[in-house]
Amino acid sequence: MPQPSEDLVIASADLDREMTLLDILDHVLNAGVVIRGSLVISLAGVDLVFLGLDVVLTSVETAFRHMRSQIPNLSPSGPSSKRSPE
């Protein structure tokens, strides 16, 4: 049987080699159904929180207020926000 290349890493639960936190975060944060109008809130360049605007869970201002109170060094203007790519 051919030996795997050293430059080839296979990370799969099926091979008892666990996927990294990065693999998992990448998939759950970046893959899947996005509800139309969702907003991505970014902190330090990392997209963290999606809020469904269509279903009006909470206003963006409320979200920013929560984040400001929890994260002292957050810029006064709040985290950058952008439309989520479909």
């Binding site: 049987m1 051919p2 795997p4 290349s5 430059d7 080839l8 890493v9 296979i10 990370a11 799969s12 639960a13 099926d14 091979l15 996927m19 936190l21 693999d23 998992i24 975060l25 998939h27 759950v28 944060l29 970046n30 893959a31 899947g32 159904v33 996005v34 509800i35 969702s38 963290l48 929180v49 999606f50 809020l51 469904g52 279903v55 009006v56 869970l57 909470t58 979200a63 929560h66 984040m67 929890q70 994260i71 989520s84």
Partner: protein, 216 residues
């Protein structure tokens, strides 16, 4: 109370859904005809802060993987939070035809992923001096990428029912739609693939078939 949506599945065959979800919340099932959505009551304030988000994302993935082991799923991106169960039920009702068709198409399938990254330490080539030169360099780059993607795709033989790829800032990501009964064979096959010089390949999966939700 707000609800966090995990994924959509068909109601048949019946599955054993995980009992707890993100931050220990109880998993509930919201049914619309022959489709169901897994969700849990959720306070969005629980997500504030880096550590809770990481832990919650891992919990979320655990739920998805627990269901994916049994049946095809359409995952929601984390965190998708709706006002209440009624909003989620309405969303599912509005999109049920599309999701029914997608789940039927993806039945018994999972997604395997190959991330290809160049490891060359050579300095970048000098900037193109003209538009034509730039277009030529892009063409060469595309040909190189196409050759690598073709190499990996051909290496999987007939195990990949569908194949997609896209360029990213760090390299190329290839996605193979694989029958769940072929996952082990796919992984064995990948072990024998030669990786191009000055490149690294990382194979992960099985994942929900997120890249194949829309037909090409």
């Amino acid at each position: 109370m707000a609800v966090l949506a995990y994924c959509i599945t068909e109601t048949q065959p019946e599955i054993t859904a995980p009992t707890t979800g993100v931050r220990g919340t109880a998993i509930e099932t919201i049914r619309v005809q022959d489709l169901q959505c897994l969700a849990s009551q959720f306070d969005p304030q629980d997500l504030v802060g880096k550590a809770p988000i990481q832990e919650s994302a891992l919990d979320f993935n655990r739920v998805l993987q627990g269901v994916l082991q049994q049946i095809a799923i359409i995952p929601f991106r984390f965190p998708t939070i709706l006002t209440d169960e009624t909003a989620l039920s309405q969303f599912l009702t509005e999109h049920q035809a599309e999701y029914r068709q997608t789940l039927h198409r993806l039945r018994n399938c999972v997604q395997m992923e190959i991330q290809l990254k160049q490891t060359s330490t050579q300095p970048p080539a000098t900037s193109p001096k003209s538009g034509a030169e730039y277009l030529r360099s892009r063409q060469v780059q595309h040909q190189y990428i196409d050759s690598i993607v073709t190499h990996f795709r051909e290496s999987t033989g007939t195990l990949a029912k569908e194949w997609r790829h896209r360029e990213t800032s760090t390299g190329i990501r290839c996605f193979a739609l694989v029958d769940r009964s072929d996952v082990q064979a796919f992984l064995r096959q990948m072990k024998s693939v030669s990786v191009p010089i000055e490149s690294e390949a990382r194979v992960t999966g099985p994942w929900p078939a997120s890249e194949f939700l829309k037909e090409q």
